[in-house]
């Protein structure tokens, strides 16, 4: 017999409140949203049952935005306005992006982060990503029938501060409450670890569309601990497409291509790459706008040869992660494969050879990140009772430091430090009477500032004039649970309170986000309303004109009463369409349509009768 549970007085639990929380994998090629329902993580499909949302955003001249399959279908026709792989541009300047010359976009090199000129205006990668996130949010809200309490958005583990900040900004811009930025390999490890009740040290090899991560985690009951992470945020499946594309251009001896043809051939290159996963050769055929016909055949051997350097590029980060973890290959219990690009046989082979064991492929490499993110979102939302949840200990991928004399870098927080983390360092003045110090915050592993990524510059002013080296300025770095940095500086010899907090220059200020959010929502509401009104007026006008001309031509088919019913419905619509209530216009239009239903039927009969009569006359 089941025992009834009675809670202690005063500790009575509130009625179970399940918060709607989702995990979002904002991928270079595809994005997904997943949630935990009845304890099981599931990917939420769109209305057509498709789980993936292609990460493609197309801007139209009238300001409309197409996202996903619709944009994908038109990308070759409208390459300049169809933004693919926007993740590559997050928190990046034009000079940071490899193969940018092959992208058909009209780039604007704004300070901090590049922007793209589209038919609907200049857009930042943050805004483009927000469009993708918005679609996923709406999908989730429709499917879960409620507004979301929060979302976990995944990022490549090797994303630096600027890229993370940009991702979080995109989430906020999409109207999401971003509970946490979660590293993609860590999300995969959660999904894998919970699914298989794994214990021990695991490596996650995550080759996505545009980024490569390798993470080493210690899994023990209730704890996921990242020991080391490494990668390359400019290496992914896209680069394999790129190699196939270049190879096909060379094979077919093509002249420089138009953006449209370039995109067309890139799509063909991707298809060929995917085909080679299960076949020994793939045909690439395409008709270019010049009329030229491309028809080449790529075999597995050639594909492996032209992508060999890319595969090799993933080995360095694997060795580095192992070294940082202080582990050898033999100590790794399993290698979890993540990302669609890991389906390529040469990747499977290279990883198998490196770790001297078969990689683990039992979870869908496209979905595992979103599923793990959903599980973490469920925990963060407080939907799992304490004791049944788990602890996640993650690290920063790249060292954080300050520029010192001689353009050298003083590392403040080394890579693979568990977050949240804080560290302070004292600095002093270089000249007598110096009253200000300018700081340059950088991220990276090299000793020279020029080899690292610049995150922020700021000045500390109001230092009392002292001899050189007498001032004591403490610079503190704080990295939060999302891996985001904030820096503060304070002069402490004189007790003078001068402190400053900076955010990396790539991130938007809170006020900017709020303004953009407000604008987009207000515009959205205004847009929807204005568009609906315009559409209804056009429709009403068309209906009225048709009705008038029908009455003029065939009014004799109606009784006086019938005619007056239609006329009064038409008058009512005519009056309402001058107003701004698109719903009222629609109702009146519907009423007029109903009123004219019989009339329309009679006119049809009449027309047929006339036609037959004419024919009869003619044939006789």
């Amino acid at each position: 017999m089941a025992l009834l549970q009675i809670s202690e007085p005063g500790t009575s639990p509130a009625p179970h409140e399940h918060r709607l929380a989702v995990g979002i994998d904002l991928g270079t090629t595809n994005s997904l949203v997943a949630t935990v329902r009845s304890g099981v993580a599931t990917v939420l499909p769109d209305a057509h049952g498709r789980p993936l949302l292609p990460s493609i955003v197309r801007y139209l001249p009238d300001g409309r935005v197409e996202v996903g399959y619709a944009a994908q279908a038109r990308q070759a026709d409208d390459p300049k306005n169809s933004i693919v792989s926007v993740k590559r541009y997050m928190g990046r300047g034009v000079k940071d992006v490899t193969h940018i010359e092959n992208a058909p976009y009209d780039f604007v090199d704004a300070p901090g982060m590049l922007q793209i000129r589209t038919a609907a205006g200049v857009k930042s990668p943050v805004e483009v990503s927000a469009e993708i996130l918005k679609v996923l949010r709406e999908r989730a809200e429709l499917s879960l029938q409620g507004s979301l309490s929060g979302a976990v958005v995944t990022v490549p583990a090797y994303f630096d501060d600027a890229q993370r900040q940009a991702t979080k900004d995109a989430g906020r811009l999409a109207g999401l409450n971003v509970l946490r930025l979660l590293n993609e390999p860590t999300a995969a490890a959660i999904a894998y670890g919970l699914e298989n009740a794994s214990e021990g040290v695991y490596a996650v090899y995550d080759l996505g569309g545009g980024t490569f991560d390798v993470s080493i985690l210690k899994l023990s009951r209730g704890v996921f601990e990242v020991v080391a992470t490494s990668g390359d945020s400019m290496l992914g499946g896209d680069d394999f497409d790129q190699r196939v594309f270049c190879w096909s251009v060379e094979q077919a001896k093509l002249a420089p291509l138009s953006p449209r043809d370039m995109r067309l051939l890139l799509v063909k290159a991707r298809e060929a790459k995917e085909f080679l996963t299960f076949h020994s050769e793939a045909n690439m055929t395409a008709k270019l706008s010049s009329g030229e016909l491309v028809d080449v055949t790529l075999d597995t051997e050639t594909f492996c040869r032209i992508t060999q350097t890319l595969v090799h590029k993933t080995l360095g980060p694997m060795r580095k992660a192992l070294r940082d973890a202080g582990l050898t290959v033999d100590e790794i219990k399993g290698v979890v494969m993540v990302g669609g690009a890991t389906r390529m046989p040469q990747i499977q082979r290279a990883v198998g050879e490196f770790f001297r064991r078969d990689p683990l492929n039992n979870l869908d490499p496209d979905k595992v990140v979103a599923l793990g993110a959903a599980m973490q979102a469920n925990v963060l939302a407080g939907n799992r009772p304490q004791g049944e949840d788990w602890l996640l200990l993650d690290v920063i991928p790249l060292s954080l430091g300050i520029e010192t004399m001689g353009a050298l870098v003083e590392k403040i927080i080394p890579r693979n430090t568990t977050i949240p983390a804080a560290r302070a360092q004292e600095f002093t003045t270089f000249k007598d009477g110096q009253t200000g110090i300018s700081f340059h915050v950088v991220q990276g592993e090299r000793e020279l500032v020029s080899d690292c990524r610049s995150l922020a510059r700021f000045e500390l002013k109001g230092i009392p004039p002292m001899v050189a080296g007498a001032a004591r300025v403490t610079v503190s770095f704080q990295v939060d649970a999302d891996g985001l940095l904030s820096v503060a500086a304070k002069e402490n010899t004189t007790g003078a309170e001068a402190s400053v907090t900076v955010k990396p220059s790539y991130g938007l200020a809170d006020a900017d986000i709020e303004r953009m959010l407000r604008d987009s929502f207000e515009h959205a509401r205004e847009d929807v309303h204005a568009r609906a009104l315009a559409e209804q007026r056009v429709e009403a006008q068309r209906l009225l004109e048709a009705t008038r001309s029908a009455l003029k031509a065939d009014g004799h088919l109606l009784s006086v009463e019938e005619k007056s019913v239609i006329e009064s419905a038409a008058q009512s619509l005519d009056k309402l369409m001058k107003g701004a209530d698109h719903r009222a216009i629609k109702q009146a239009a519907d009423a007029l349509n109903r009123a004219t239903e019989q009339f329309a039927g009679r006119r049809m009969d009449e027309g047929i009768r006339r036609a037959l009569a004419g024919r009869k006359i003619g044939s006789l």
């Binding site: 509970l179 580095k320 804080a422």
Partner: protein
């Protein structure tokens, strides 16, 4: 939060984890204590809490992470222990090291340079292995010095030696990266 608030005032990492201040630390006890505290303070537990709670959680986790990092690393642990005993390892002002130690260090660095020039990963591997053995030997000595003999001055000199070896370890890391 109140239950542990008193511990915030101390900078003694051992106290934070409720551990005896010894060099020969039980790693399993440290891990267990770290995880227990993290389970209470980690920001993941406060993702839906108010701003104030969230801020406090980040501060706490930061503090716990720092303490854990210090105690896990033998060199940092020894420095922290000696600091608690009032002995400053004074690594920057006190660089007078025994001559034979310095000669040995120079020889190790020369082998490192040779391995880098020859792009010889196998030599780096063996150098690292030798270094690991040397570090373990020093760590045992430090443990005896601090825990058994309470010879903190003597321990400080051993810690300074260990710092030399640690630096060499970092250089070997960079050498591996240069090879790739």
């Amino acid at each position: 939060m109140n239950a542990v608030a008193g511990k915030a005032l101390t900078s003694n990492h051992f106290e934070l984890f409720g551990l005896e201040p010894v060099f020969a630390l039980n790693a399993a006890s440290l891990d267990a204590a770290y995880r227990d505290i993290q389970a209470k303070v980690h920001p993941d537990r406060f993702a839906h809490a108010g701003d104030a709670e969230r801020r406090a959680s980040v501060q706490w986790t930061t503090r716990v992470n720092e303490a854990y990092r210090t105690l896990k690393d033998p060199l940092q642990r020894a420095r922290h222990l000696l600091e608690l005993r009032g002995v400053d390892v004074a690594f920057e002002s006190n660089t007078a090291m025994p001559a034979d130690f310095l000669v040995q260090q120079m020889a190790l660095r020369e082998s490192l340079e040779e391995a880098v020039e020859a792009k010889d990963a196998a030599s780096l591997d063996s150098l690292r292995k030798d270094l690991a053995g040397e570090k373990r030997r020093l760590e045992t000595q430090i443990g005896e010095s601090i825990d058994a003999r309470k010879d903190y001055r003597g321990a400080a000199e051993l810690v300074r030696k260990l710092m030399f070896l640690d630096k060499l370890d970092t250089e070997i890391d960079l050498a591996y990266e240069a090879l790739e």
